[in-house]
Symmetry: C2
Amino acid sequence: VTAVDVPSGRPAALATPEPGDPRLARLSLNQWTVRQWDLREAVEGCARAGVPAIGLWREPVAAAGLREAVARVADAGLRVSSLCRGGFLTAGAAALDENRRAIEEAGALGAATLVLVVGGLPPGSRDLAGARAAVAEALARLAPEAGAAGVRLALEPLHPMYCADRAVLSTLAQALDLAERFPAEQVGVVVDTFHVWWDPEVFAQIERAGERIASFQLADFMTPLPADVLLGRALPGDGHIDFPPLVAAVEAAGYRGDIEVEVFNADVWAADGDEVVATMLRRYVESVT
Amino acid sequence: VTAVDVPSGRPAALATPEPGDPRLARLSLNQWTVRQWDLREAVEGCARAGVPAIGLWREPVAAAGLREAVARVADAGLRVSSLCRGGFLTAGAAALDENRRAIEEAGALGAATLVLVVGGLPPGSRDLAGARAAVAEALARLAPEAGAAGVRLALEPLHPMYCADRAVLSTLAQALDLAERFPAEQVGVVVDTFHVWWDPEVFAQIERAGERIASFQLADFMTPLPADVLLGRALPGDGHIDFPPLVAAVEAAGYRGDIEVEVFNADVWAADGDEVVATMLRRYVESVT
């Protein structure tokens, strides 16, 4: 039992799945789950544990160098389930150029999708409708460019507690209303359990989303939330979310892509990376398969 | 300028409104905004400042004694805009008796409404649908009893960050779906700006709510949230919410009742009560009138 393996009310799986276990065929490790690792360590950690896909973040990719990142991922035979993240489209014109760089990087990495966290209210502003309109305008500029680069943008509705400072898109319904203005191959949505589990419409909106589901991310919701609410994400089984019905709904909607585990959690980051990955494998199998 | 009078980007009103100012005619001080005061002090503070209504909480009412609370409020000529709170209906059968006591108290105090915070997931449970069904069942028992006692129950959708531990009702739409099963004079809803401001449907649902609006509460949403996220509420003007459009929407929906300022905030609780009330009057006039 490791520091991060404290199941709450759910029996622990008997054993950590071995590399090659067919139950792991769609598992992706989001790189920020093991922020204690740099890109090389994360790629090697996936290979050791038999995780076939990885969700990358732009910062560690930049730290390694894009060309080296591309080579390492290819050498390890990993799929890149997503690149996190573009967005912050409420910040004005500079955001467009930053997103164009992110689209380029996603293309180079062969990422299935570029996740967009759309941004919160501009500093000092209380104009939520205006911020949402700015997101739509910026997306109209970026979507065709992403399409031309073979990159799919994925709008991520964030939990409403981040509406002011991180994302003025708070529900799947709202994200789909916006995504549906564009071709499905250009703009999809992210279903992240942590952000949407509370939503009384979550099952109806997952069904509606269908082929718009571009990314599926797993994290549990802890209470009490930690002092930094960004770090309230936990490994599946450590919080309040009932995963199997959500997994089944995403499956029923037709999603067949990778399933990322994306946890931001100070205790997880303080633990040994290989132990985190081993715990993740057990929790994933319990929750998903 | 007091410790709690730090307007963020909004000009301060020139002067604190005096008792008798017609702009204060619908203002109610929710007692928990000045938790540093006991019931006697809160009633006297309202009288000094010319606040014509008060939102009471059961705990300080019990501390004063119900009979004394009734007498003090009557002697001061205050309206009781609400009693906070009943609810926690997911906790099982014991909750019913507790709510019956709350209904009795609301009736004795002449409270316009009894606010219900419906409760989160039972300990160890991940059955969100089951918890919501339990709320509906308990409400079906309590609503006619409240009606018979002349007390209106008000379902309060809480911000989704409290879904797990405080309220499995998270949106106005969801609260209205439930309230509409009962006569409007038995069950209404609370519109609390802190809880609903982020909702892309908030204006549509306020319009839909119409005569179901049983209570209207003002608090601003701060970032970063404090370590105890229950205390993320701020005086209007100190956070991210644009109040006038929400106030106008509630008005357009036909609500003519009192407007409570309900702030849970460690800095506000540490300040002098009269200064808090004076700041509240200025912010209220800026935000509402």
